[in-house]
């Protein structure tokens, strides 16, 4: 079904952050560092303050002068100052905030802030940052999440290792060991809805309106930073893809609002988003040991994630992907090493599954190399090694609903894998197909930190109000929660309304990230609905003087089960009025802990559920220009029960369409002095309708035990599987295996030239 808000969105009746007007609000413009790494010698804001219409200018001096304002924020990794204190750590780092009566004045005044920078040597990539004697981006570390482990005296803000079996033995048992290095440059999420905040500090209370993906953790961080209660309200959001998962704007604009003494609005330009959060540069070394028959016996993946100038978001998301860096394969001996490294790039954040996407690219491309080398069919080598139910993952988890192989078969069949490719008589068009498979975790904190609540209340108007923290970011969460609540209560969608993501009105929820909402919030909604249903039946039974077990909920009201609808029941509006006290119930979803498997053993739970997915793609390469075009693609994912098939299909399609950009042509480019060259859509190519191939969505909907009506999450995997499939299709077409993306035409043509030169 279409989402509940689809018609309103199409008609322009839905308000986004950009539409929000708070009476009396002033407008902020951020003064940003032009240099990637610089000591801030002095800031002269007098000329800006003197400009008519300027309300105030927030610099390090104002922050330091306020005893009730902490300097450093970050609810995952506390390393970001409200405004730069001693130095700027990336181009675009926030140095000051100018507040004025209108946006144009703020913009003009921002140019009048005179900052004296002393340029420092910058580390613009992981290699430079890890070199002996490299300049330090941060002199101190401030991890908050307990699993984060910085390396003293280096730029490594997190290093961790996991593994299973005995990796040395595994490689010793292998007939062949393959080693490859893969890499991918940063890209930006380019969500349509630009980062925007309105902050108000009034009567000892903070109210922040923002399009962030984590309202509750943000609210708590605001309370710590400013020592007063905070309310966070998130309207409809027009996409985030991870760029809005952590705070970068909210705390600093709140500080500006406190200084201004009135509400302050800040909306970033598209260009500024390139300096706010980006998908990090990634590099890895992957070694895989196989038997002659293609059985994988050992794999080591050592990967480096460039978190940029602040680890507020990037360090933990890199760490989370330790769990999936060896892929959806049965591997008895495995080891994964993660290095999250500070550099002087803009801060990194997740990006629709990141960096699972790059892990998948690496292990899937290498697997095609292995298959070709061993003379094996590419699907066959996967069939042999893909996990099945009851397998133990590298994390020690017992895998359930592991329909990895079914995903692959469905995706491959959808593009006609076995059909012959069209011939190219003149040899100028090279054609090929590729497939890739993945495994993705969901955010699974320790049990005591698990936070997922929902509340359902029957209003006086007879409508059930579902109160959830899930941010409606375009994924259709309101609709899915209403469907789940409706089914659990036994009422139709007309009797339901959803109130989302206002920390003062809904129970606590950790975030709208990592494909987690359908499962976690869905379970909380099911529990709340179950409790509420009992209360309503009891209340109606008292009112109607009948036994509760002879009554049932319908779309119209509570009716006798044998009543046939001709009286004897009570409408919800009447029930709510006559009961007087609110009819409401809360539910929650506690995750983590351990799993008691059918084999009688107890297993850890590193991820509440695992999502499996595959992509199959067919490409055409123009042998004369090096242009690769995706002719057709199909993605398949395990969804558990498909609550809203239409949303699942569009999520998968959106993921594929988005990831074709980074796979084929998107990349942020810096010059030698560390200046970003394409922080504007004029010079930063994005996929559009024209780049979409013929596309088939597929899903594998076996119910998942424990999920709400058997559902699990799948919001990211459509994107995650794209680069691997495309690299493999280009390998199939050209005989050249690429080790990096994007697959720019000149890179492909260069490789084709080298190949024909070698053949002569």
């Amino acid at each position: 079904m279409p989402t509940l808000e689809a018609a309103d969105k199409a008609a322009g009746r839905v308000a986004y952050m950009g539409d929000l007007v708070i009476p009396g609000m002033a407008h902020a413009k951020i003064v940003r560092s032009p240099l990637p790494h610089a000591r801030i010698v002095a800031i002269d804001a007098e000329a800006a303050r003197a400009l008519p219409g300027v309300v105030c200018v927030l610099t390090r001096d104002e922050v330091r002068a306020d005893p009730d304002m902490e300097e450093i924020y970050g609810f995952v990794y506390r390393d970001a100052p409200l405004v730069a204190i001693d130095k700027a750590r990336h181009q675009g780092d926030i140095v000051a905030v100018v507040v004025a009566e209108d946006a144009a004045t703020a913009e003009e005044a921002a140019e009048l802030v005179d900052v004296d920078y002393e340029e420092l040597p910058a580390v613009m990539n992981v290699r430079e940052a890890l070199a002996d004697g490299a300049p330090r981006v941060h002199e101190e570390f401030f991890p908050i999440a307990p699993e984060l482990r910085p390396q003293a005296g280096t730029n490594i803000c997190h290093h961790a290792t996991i593994g299973c079996g005995d990796i040395a033995r595994g490689f010793a048992e292998a007939d062949f060991v393959y080693e490859d290095e893969f890499s991918a440059p940063p890209v930006q999420h380019c969500a349509l809805d630009l980062h925007a905040v309105v902050a108000q500090v009034e009567d000892g209370q903070i109210t922040v309106w923002t399009n962030c993906q984590s309202p509750f953790p943000l609210g708590r961080e605001l309370e710590r930073m400013f020592k007063m209660p905070a309310r966070v309200i998130v309207p409809y959001v027009g996409g985030g893809f991870g760029s809005k998962s952590r705070d970068r704007l909210e705390c600093v604009i709140t500080a500006a609002a406190k200084l201004a003494g009135r509400p302050v609005r800040c909306v970033l330009s598209q260009e500024e988003t390139f300096m706010t959060f980006i998908r990090p540069a990634y590099a890895n070394r992957i070694q895989t040991g196989v038997k002659r028959d293609g059985t994988i016996v050992a794999r080591r993946n050592t990967f480096y994630v460039d978190v940029g100038g602040y680890a507020i978001s990037g360090a933990r998301s890199a760490n989370n992907t330790l769990k999936v860096a060896t892929g959806p394969y049965r591997i008895p001996h495995a080891e994964v090493n993660c290095y999250a490294v500070y550099t002087n790039k803009p801060p990194s954040s997740p990006y629709r599954g990141l960096p699972t996407t790059q892990h998948t690219m690496a292990y899937e491309a290498q697997l095609d190399r292995i298959a070709r080398d061993l003379g094996m069919d590419r699907l066959e080598i996967r069939r042999k090694n893909l996990v099945r139910d009851g397998d133990t993952h590298v994390t020690g988890d017992y895998l359930r609903s592991a329909h990895a192989r079914e995903c692959m078969e469905k995706a491959a069949a959808a593009i006609g894998w076995d059909a012959p490719l069209p011939a190219s008589p003149d040899g100028k068009t090279l054609r090929g197909r590729g497939v890739s498979c993945t495994i993705k975790y969901t955010l699974t904190p320790a049990r005591q930190m698990s936070e997922n609540g929902a509340e359902i209340a029957l209003g006086q108007d007879g409508v059930f109000e579902i109160r959830i923290g899930t941010v409606n970011i375009g994924q259709g969460s309101d609709t899915v929660m209403a469907q789940i609540a409706g089914d659990a209560l036994g009422v139709g969608l007309d009797a339901l309304r959803v109130v989302h993501s206002d920390t003062a009105r809904v129970p606590v929820d950790s975030s709208t990230t990592a494909s987690r909402s359908t499962y976690h919030m869905g379970r909380a909604v099911v529990e709340a609905a179950g409790v509420l249903k009992g209360r309503i039946l009891e209340a109606a039974a008292q009112l109607l003087e009948r036994g509760a077990d002879s009554l049932a909920l319908t779309s119209e009201g509570v009716e006798p089960e044998d009543g046939g609808g001709d009286g004897g029941g009570v409408s919800y509006a009447e029930l709510a009025r006559r009961v007087g006290s609110p009819l409401a119930a809360q539910g929650e979803c506690i995750v983590g802990g351990t799993y008691d498997a059918p084999d009688g053993k107890t297993y850890p739970i590193a991820s509440t559920f695992w999502t499996f997915a595959s992509c199959a793609a067919e490409v055409e390469v123009d042998a004369e220009t090096g242009q690769a075009r995706i002719v057709q693609a199909a993605a398949a994912a395990t969804t558990g029960t498909a609550i809203n098939p239409r949303s699942i299909e569009t999520q998968l399609e959106g993921g594929v369409g988005q990831e074709l950009g980074p796979t084929l042509f998107e990349q942020m480019t810096w010059d030698e002095s560390g200046q970003l060259l394409n922080a504007a859509l004029l010079d930063y190519p994005l996929p559009t309708m024209e780049t979409m191939p013929r596309y088939e969505p597929r899903y594998v909907d076996h119910p998942f035990e424990g999920g709400p009506f058997g559902a699990k999450g799948m919001g990211e995997v459509g994107a995650v599987v794209v680069p691997g499939a495309v690299l493999n299709a280009v390998y199939d077409a050209t005989g050249v295996l690429f080790h990096e993306m994007p697959l720019l035409p000149h890179k492909i043509l260069e490789a084709l030239d080298a190949k024909s030169a070698a053949a002569q």
């Binding site: 084929l664 010079d683 190519p685 996929p687």
Partner: protein, 287 residues
């Protein structure tokens, strides 16, 4: 964006006078597809924006001997114009490849010409067709051959206060075929890596080439008219000869390394585009 004064003159003379008086402080916009982006990014920060949109008589296409195109004619109108499509097919084809339909509805022919961006499709096609640019000021109007109109990237021979009011495109002789091709990375909305136009006239009696022109975009600071195309004159335009001519044309190009790729690749792409455009033009001339 900085606030600016907005002026919407009703006549070319008036617009020209404002531009001349205000000098660098004034910024002329037609359809605004490029100008608004420049304003928003702060690439230009004018005191006043002079909107040509209110000037009457600059919109429309007349096919009367030459194709006479008013400066404010949307690219989309050129793409769909019956006369242009039948006898100046190369130009209509180039117009149809500009960005996307929303941009083509806003962008104007005069704007595309006056902007002087070396990657833009329309000037390449106009170069192959040997068009002339009509420029007007309070002092009067003059016609400048397009080959002499550009001085460098975003630089033209327009004097202060002078405005492009139209483009005249001579009609290609009978038995002529034309084609325009572009190469973009990612979606067609992006600036092209390169583009090429070709125009081939055949002698129907002998089947030999009676006229050949090719032009290349993003091939140097201004549109490049490839002299090599004349090598086909008097010959049968075979695929082998066309390949040789295209290779020579690519050597005439002087592309720049930028975010869209290195020089060697652009040269290779230009060769391929010229070759394919000449082949396609030849086929169309035969049809």
């Amino acid at each position: 964006m900085r606030p600016f004064e907005y002026i919407r003159p009703g006549a070319v003379g008036e617009a020209s006078q404002i531009l001349a008086e205000r000098g660098d402080g004034a910024f002329l916009i037609g359809g605004g597809s490029a100008a608004v982006v420049m304003l928003r990014l702060g690439v230009v920060r004018p005191e006043c924006v002079v909107d040509l949109g209110g000037v009457a008589g600059l919109r429309g296409i007349e096919a009367n001997g030459a194709l006479r195109i008013g400066a404010l004619t949307p690219i989309r109108a050129l793409e769909l114009d019956g006369g242009a499509r039948s006898r100046w097919g190369l130009l209509a084809e180039a117009a149809s490849q500009v960005a996307n339909v929303r941009v083509r509805n806003a962008a104007t022919v005069g704007g595309a010409v006056a902007y002087g961006e070396p990657q833009t499709d329309t000037p390449t096609a106009l170069t192959a067709l040997g068009a002339s640019v009509r420029a007007a000021s309070a002092k009067g109007e003059r016609a400048v051959p397009i080959g002499e109109f550009y001085l460098g990237p975003y630089e033209t021979v327009l004097a202060p206060g002078e405005i492009v009011v139209g483009v005249d495109v001579p009609e290609p002789p009978p038995h002529t075929g034309g084609a325009h091709l572009k190469f973009t990375i990612g979606s067609p909305e992006n600036k092209p890596v390169a583009n090429a136009s070709a125009l081939v006239t055949l002698d129907p009696a002998s089947g030999k080439c009676a006229g050949a022109r090719a032009a290349m975009g993003a091939a140097g600071p201004t549109p490049v008219a490839a002299q090599a195309a004349e090598g086909l004159l008097g010959e049968f335009p075979s695929p082998e000869r066309i390949a040789e001519v295209a290779a020579a044309a690519a050597e005439e190009a002087d592309p720049m390394e930028d975010l869209r790729g290195p020089v060697w690749h652009k040269r290779r792409v230009l060769k391929v585009l010229v070759e394919r455009a000449l082949l396609c033009a030849t086929q169309r001339a035969q049809a």
